[in-house]
């Protein structure tokens, strides 16, 4: 018996849905092993996690609370990833957003009309996040400096800076780690429990981005840049300008997440603002396959995992990091599975069977499909490719076949290096 990957004739849409779901299952399975090894009953633990997250109004609103920054940073990361700009600095952008929003809310309230402070603080958060993402963007756009490292290094800088502020520079006199509370007129209103109006901002941005990706020139150009930057350059699309503009927006959205945390949740700059949402955002964006609406869904799920993790720490004395481990585990089966979008897995028993299949022409090519089984969906594509031999024009087209495409890819190799 031998396993073999075969290239599909078109992208499988089903795999795009099945694979994330399967990844979630695999991740839970792996977590179960880990729990058993560390002496806990996985079923009980998972039940406790689910109960903690969804079993009470309080739990649900807490899930909402955590999903706000996750949705926003997830969207920011997805936007940058869309053009294959590896912005892994959402954590720093969020932190700087929180710093700027707190700064404006704390120190501008004297000179300005009270009603302006909330919008100004939110705006300050956006700008700070944008600047924090803009620096790596400019370095990438004009000097081609690797962005994974610069965005990541700036995370450390941002977190150290915010620590300096709430431990030293802005520390409230009778507080160990935190500033004064920000004035009430600068608060984001709460809607349920601790969940605040930031959720509406997140949802609105998600819908907006979805429309941008689908219906605008900008979204179209981002996709081209992400899929083939050389082609983008050739098509007259300015990559440098798009990198800068896109990253300013991406950073602003993550900055908004930080502003929301300060203005809606903690109401002061304090420890616990930078708790890794910006990293979870990477998992969210990729799990959602960079689809903004998918981001909302996955962010909610990740928030539930985090809340559930907190709950089992209290109830079962297990480390809360179980939730983090499960989150971290999610991407791995997801990555392993993404190949099935373009390839299908075939199981064949012996070599002579292969040659048998082969003599029967194309008609039952799908027969030995194991994973595939989606004849209905790919049927259209296969149908027309099967009929290739018949038409007059199609005859010539077919003979343009593989050797032709191999040849042109080859020339791709030489042409690209020239």
């Amino acid at each position: 018996m031998k396993l073999e990957l075969r290239k599909r004739e078109s992208i499988s849409r089903r795999a795009a849905i099945v694979v994330p779901l399967a990844s979630f299952g695999v991740s839970l399975l792996f977590g179960a092993i880990l729990l058993i090894v560390s002496g806990a009953n996985p079923l009980q633990t998972y039940a406790a996690m689910a109960g903690g997250a969804f079993g009470s109004v309080n739990g649900l609103t807490e899930v909402l609370v955590k999903s706000i920054p996750l949705i926003l940073t997830g969207l920011g990361v997805a936007l940058a990833f869309r053009m294959r700009f590896w912005n892994i600095g959402a954590e720093g952008q969020l932190t700087m957003g929180a710093v700027a929003a707190a700064g404006v809310a704390l120190f501008w309230s004297q000179g300005m009309p009270a009603w302006t402070i909330l919008p100004l603080s939110l705006l300050a958060g956006c700008i700070a996040g944008a600047v924090w993402a803009g620096v790596p963007a400019i370095l990438k756009a004009f000097l081609n400096v690797d962005e994974t490292l610069t965005t990541l290094m700036l995370n450390y800088v941002a977190v150290l800076y915010s620590e300096h502020l709430y431990y030293v520079a802005w520390r409230a006199p009778n507080y160990n780690s935190g500033t004064e509370r920000i004035p009430e007129f600068a608060w984001l209103p709460r809607i349920a429990g601790r969940a605040h109006a930031g959720i509406f901002i997140g949802l609105a941005i998600a819908v907006l981005l979805w429309a941008v990706f689908r219906y605008t020139r900008w979204g179209f150009e981002l996709k081209i840049i992400g899929a083939n930057p050389t082609a983008a350059r050739y098509l007259g699309i300015s990559i440098a300008r798009n990198i800068v503009v896109t990253l300013l927006v991406s950073g602003a959205i993550s900055g908004l997440a930080g502003a929301g945390e300060v203005l809606g949740l903690t109401r002061r700059l304090q420890q616990g603002i930078s708790v890794g949402y910006g990293y979870t955002a990477i998992i969210i964006a990729w799990m959602a396959q960079l689809n903004p609406l998918g981001v909302v869904l996955v962010a909610f799920l990740m928030a539930a995992l985090a809340v559930g993790g907190d709950q089992i720490q209290m109830r079962m004395r297990l480390p809360a990091s179980v939730g983090v481990v499960l989150q971290g585990m999610l991407l791995i089966p997801m990555l392993a599975g993404s190949i099935f979008r373009e390839y299908s897995l075939h199981v064949s028993r012996a070599r002579n069977q292969e040659s048998r299949i082969e003599n029967r022409e194309d008609t039952d090519r799908q027969e030995d499909d194991a994973v595939d089984g989606e004849a209905a969906e790919t049927g259209g594509a296969n149908g027309s490719s099967r009929s290739r031999g018949t038409g007059g024009a199609a005859g010539t087209l077919r003979s343009g076949g593989t050797e032709g495409s191999a040849g042109s890819l080859r020339s791709g190799g030489t042409g690209g290096s020239a």
């Binding site: 290239k7 880990l34 560390s38 590896w86 892994i88 370095l139 000097l143 081609n144 400096v145 690797d146 994974t148 490292l149 610069t150 990541l152 290094m153 700036l154 450390y156 800088v157 150290l160 800076y161 620590e163 300096h164 030293v168 990293y279 979870t280 990477i282 998992i283 990729w286 480390p319 990091s321 179980v322 983090v324 481990v325 989150q327 971290g328 585990m329 991407l331 791995i332 990555l335 392993a336 599975g337 993404s338 190949i339 191999a406 890819l409 080859r410 190799g413």
Partner: protein, 321 residues
């Protein structure tokens, strides 16, 4: 004068000690990237190496067993990365990130789970066996250069490993094959070199060395376990590889630079001789990394030199080229 020499010696001593884990990591990552595989999982692998090395040494009493386990763990995570990127052709950036996220989470879970019951299963704050500095009589008394002879065994091992790693890459058949796979996998394949196997092999070897780097942190440099013991060293390793232009010998220079920053920072804070807030001092390594990257990229652009293996980051398949 004597004081200045003593100060220099002590700074260099700390520099080397702080740089050792970076050198292990950088050699490992250099080998991985030379095969065409970009592994951004270094930070997670280092953390996992550190926690497992310490836990193993703590319970077994053997630092050597700790090293072995850390190498095994590094190799396992690297093998996972190789599986995802080579066999399943997943995006290398995202796969590396996921290894880092997963490794970070699992390391912190293990740190809260592997400790003794008396400490609520927490490893933080436990004291275990370690590699202590060994002063070589005579040599260690030389001013300044004596710093090279007041190191722990793992750092001494580098005196051997660095030249070997360099010679292997540039002077041997295997090194030739490895470089060919990273530069032009099509060519390597047509010349009878197994691209898939080579990529697996050196990704795993790289993971072992990165795991060792992590073990050096928890067994020698800062013995014990704390949640964020690497402090981004895994990422600095990746920057070092770029700085060294994928040459294991040149990575030493970079590691000394970053170790030196650590040492200076350490001296300034310990001496209390500065009014600069510690947060700003702590930012230094990260800001210097960015500065170094900018300088290197600029220099490459000006000199039309590209240090990176040409096929870095691209999967290879034979039939549907």
């Amino acid at each position: 004068m004597i004081d200045t020499l003593a100060l220099l010696t002590s700074i260099l001593t700390i520099t080397l000690r702080a740089g050792a884990s970076l050198i292990y990591g950088a050699i490992g990552e250099t080998y991985t990237e030379r095969s065409g595989i970009l592994n951004l999982g270094v930070e997670g692998m280092m953390l996992m190496g550190a926690v497992t090395a310490f836990a193993t040494a703590y319970y077994s009493g053997s630092v050597w067993l700790g090293l072995l386990v850390a190498m095994g763990v590094g190799a396992t995570l690297a093998a996972l990365h190789a599986f995802l990127t080579v066999t399943m052709r997943a995006n290398q950036v995202v796969s590396g990130l996921s290894i880092t996220l997963f490794g970070t989470g699992l390391a912190s879970f293990l740190g809260e789970r592997l400790g003794p019951a008396s400490n609520n299963f927490n490893l933080v704050g436990m004291v275990g066996p370690r590699f202590s500095p060994i002063e070589i009589p005579g040599l260690s008394e030389i001013p300044v250069l004596g710093a090279f002879f007041k190191q722990d065994l793992l750092t001494y091992a580098l005196f051997l490993l660095v030249p070997l790693a360099w010679a292997y890459l540039y002077k041997t058949r295997n090194g030739l094959n490895l470089r060919a796979v990273g530069e032009s996998p099509q060519t390597a394949d047509a010349m009878g070199i197994d691209v898939i196997r080579t990529r697996y092999r050196y990704t795993i070897v790289g993971g072992m060395l990165v795991g060792l780097g992590g073990a050096h942190l928890s067994l020698a440099y800062a013995p014990g376990w704390s949640e964020n013991i690497t402090g981004g060293r895994g990422w600095i390793v990746i920057a070092l590889v770029i700085f060294a232009m994928w040459n294991p010998a040149r990575a030493v220079l970079g590691a000394v630079l970053f170790g030196g920053i650590n040492a200076v920072q350490f001296r300034l804070q310990a001496g209390g001789a500065t009014t600069i807030p510690s947060a700003y001092l702590n930012m230094l390594p990260y800001l210097v990394t960015i500065a170094v990257l900018i300088a290197m990229t600029w220099w490459e652009a000006l000199s039309h030199r590209i240090g990176a293996p040409a096929a870095l980051g691209t999967p290879y398949t034979r039939e549907d080229k």
